[in-house]
Symmetry: D2
Subunit: 296 residues, 4 copies
Amino acid sequence: MVTLTRSYGERVLKNSAVMLVQCPDQKGLDAAIADFIFQHDGNILHFEQHQAGEERFYLARVEWDLSGFQLPLDHFPEKFTPVAKKFGMHWGVALTSYRPRVAVFVSKYDHCLVDLLYRQRNGELACEIPLIISNHEDVRRHADFHGVPYHVIPVSKGTKREAEVAQQRLLGEHKIDLIVLARYMQILSPEFIANFPQRIINIHHSFLPAFIGAKPHQQAYDRGVKILGATAHYVTEVLDDGPIIEQGVVRISHKDGLDDLVEKGRDLEKVVLSRAVRWHIENRILLYANKTVIFE
Amino acid sequence: MVTLTRSYGERVLKNSAVMLVQCPDQKGLDAAIADFIFQHDGNILHFEQHQAGEERFYLARVEWDLSGFQLPLDHFPEKFTPVAKKFGMHWGVALTSYRPRVAVFVSKYDHCLVDLLYRQRNGELACEIPLIISNHEDVRRHADFHGVPYHVIPVSKGTKREAEVAQQRLLGEHKIDLIVLARYMQILSPEFIANFPQRIINIHHSFLPAFIGAKPHQQAYDRGVKILGATAHYVTEVLDDGPIIEQGVVRISHKDGLDDLVEKGRDLEKVVLSRAVRWHIENRILLYANKTVIFE
Amino acid sequence: MVTLTRSYGERVLKNSAVMLVQCPDQKGLDAAIADFIFQHDGNILHFEQHQAGEERFYLARVEWDLSGFQLPLDHFPEKFTPVAKKFGMHWGVALTSYRPRVAVFVSKYDHCLVDLLYRQRNGELACEIPLIISNHEDVRRHADFHGVPYHVIPVSKGTKREAEVAQQRLLGEHKIDLIVLARYMQILSPEFIANFPQRIINIHHSFLPAFIGAKPHQQAYDRGVKILGATAHYVTEVLDDGPIIEQGVVRISHKDGLDDLVEKGRDLEKVVLSRAVRWHIENRILLYANKTVIFE
Amino acid sequence: MVTLTRSYGERVLKNSAVMLVQCPDQKGLDAAIADFIFQHDGNILHFEQHQAGEERFYLARVEWDLSGFQLPLDHFPEKFTPVAKKFGMHWGVALTSYRPRVAVFVSKYDHCLVDLLYRQRNGELACEIPLIISNHEDVRRHADFHGVPYHVIPVSKGTKREAEVAQQRLLGEHKIDLIVLARYMQILSPEFIANFPQRIINIHHSFLPAFIGAKPHQQAYDRGVKILGATAHYVTEVLDDGPIIEQGVVRISHKDGLDDLVEKGRDLEKVVLSRAVRWHIENRILLYANKTVIFE
């Protein structure tokens, strides 16, 4: 129940901690959490609480200043567990100073990769990117420019399992917290996905659930829609059906050919994907009923 | 091939004519049209031409000033037909001063009806609304306020054919040019639809083709999308599959319950539907390959 | 310091209370508030806390369920005051079941008035509208349709003071909580404004601070902007300088004449103004440093 | 009057020509242009004509296929001049195959530069970028990555004139058609600007005319606006007053600090600037009354 794993980052490194909590709603939850932090001399910076569903399931995100906080984070689980048990909380806490380790998967389209690397370098994304995995050589020069190791693991029908084994070995070696599929054009196996629950983010170049599957731009063009979409979502076993984290749209018209859709889509995909990644690494996302709750 | 039917309207009544043309592309098309108008002393106000598809199908909209134009519109077809035949044009011409006759169909939700009546009254929609047809009494007071006859024709499983006969009699009596389904909750029969090709506009409260069919807000809520849509389209025999005229979107979040979706959807549906109706009555829409070309 | 005045409304009338709090930040604030509510057997439905400025000023909104709450709201101030005093809180509490009393001021443009009345009638705006005040007869029929008393108080240079006296008498008689200037084209005197601090909302038809003052659409047209804006703000003594509550925009192009700007502006103004009014009557707005904090 | 200068580019290099025309409106303009092209066996691909102002000034863009066109573009001016003189046209024609030569000016913020280089490399911007000029060394590595010469010309109060002389020498040597100020933080002298009329595009990080001058993000933050803007415009002698080419906006809230505004602004500035540059190099912009007409 207790996971002291992923952490929270911001441009200016704050000396703070973040706790995410979910459980059935009961009286006294906010008081119990706020009291616990106060009793150990913490100053709460943000407290946001939401209730979901008809049964009003409780979901909360609390961030507090660690200066003067009397409880070392190492001892936090031990002390907080009695409180958590009393309310049946599912919870996790993380340090702002920890930078999650992100692996980017990419194929031939480089726009999302280039964008993620740029944002990571300028501090917008408070994470490490220790490696990039691709099934092609094509975009290596961007990895080289940013000094990120670039691993090519080709994938063909017969070698998929073997490729995934190699990928998972690398992910393990680099202690990867999050996998970002930045227009990676291979479908991962259910076994692979099961190893990274709520830890794989994909960008789909349509307004899901419209245009599920292959060639969404072609589908959008053929249907004559007036608005183009992009969707960042967690990857689950069912294709393009995982919890949606973020979506964006842009207007198109009859003047836009398929090439224009691709170009307009690029700008959209970059922004939507980077926002989803950011929310994840800043511990702003909770899941409830296959939907995301975003504490912006 | 020649139809001297629907017309063009604007806030300030212009003394102008609009021609819509489509045909396979050939050299000399623009010159032939522009020359014809110039030879009869017309001054072209707007000329916009688009090419669609890989074969570059020609689609154009031309509006010209009628002051000083030497050819009465009555004689236009006779004189222009030789030009049109030479190029194999499918065309139509209309007077700005003609106000299309629009029938609004409505059930119990009144927001689109109220909006259309308001826009028609203040001059945004240059059309007549000689009647409203509903399967319920509920929204009559808005019709009364604006002095528009309100006809209740109940529809049940057994009486659908009979109801449609009554509806079509009214539409015929009032020489209706366009039917607007302003959240009308009955599905029209293929026979009815066939009588009004490209002359029925519907508003669907989702971002088509996502959430086709009933209860799109519930579907959107259950899927956890981050953006809500609305779609105005021409009605064809296949449900929610007709050419899309306009779409709009609004952001939603986990904080929005189903009620909020309904409320946010209302604002969207009004704007999207009224824009589609306006483009239609101002002769700004051409169809090609089940898609619309909008000459804004 | 204690005001038990305005209240909180929602579509489904909830039996809940809302507290807004602001004060210098200190440790223990969240705990103190959450504890107080818990000790009286209240169940917190929403807790959102924000910190503003470099000194991290504390701003919070708390809503809790009153079923089972052991403290009658009448006695709330007496009991809560010691807590408030300890932290130097500026605070207020309101019942969801109280519907604020709103006076709408209007001149000749009726679109915002019509929109507000419609939203109030369908339950989107949980308020009473006991009267409309205008300096013209023009839009009376909409008031009549909704059965709202419509008072005409003409305003000319010489009669402004006298007119304001008459207006304030009406406002007092009807115990008005909030004044909404729905395209009211007269400038209120500083004395009038001083009587309703943070209780007058205006809609300005531009993206403030661009195009301050008269004829913003003309100014926008002359400058050739590509985006049109609208701004809802609290009225203060300095023209168009009060705290901004909400803004909206719509794209325009060289094809849009001044008339088109007016039409596109209407759709914008309605949505922006109604959102601001809603947030106000639902007690979702706090002020800090001439800026608004919106607890959506 | 005749300028056979800038050209037109697209992803797939089309063998076409583009003509931009403006003059007082008269009957027969469209016919004269379309006839001229038809007589020389050209097939018009796009014809769009707009009328501006109360006097209905004529503005048009025509693009035609050059396959089979009987008039070499070298001889075009000679042949077309009689037509142009008759109507008093101000006009220009350009080949699609010509790629305008663009100089990018930059200071320390690299996001717009990186974006422009990326779009030029992937074909979205059909231009050459033969050089980058900066007053700082900071962003040289991006120029190196793309293999574009990077010239540092420091600017201080005393050396401004001298620096501009050096800049203009480089621009002349490289036959630069267009200067793009990609967050270049120096103000150019009126003399410099006069040498490049309608040939310098700047990105201003606000919704002009709001927040003219220095530190627009700080100004926006202090005013508490709810929407952040960016504006691409031609540079004229009056600061931030040139014709607006494109604007974009993004929502912000009280949760966004100044740093967030800077980050959200970056995404906006990139998209807005690149769109303006593209329209310029594709000959889609005409000027009328200090405003732009965009033939999208």
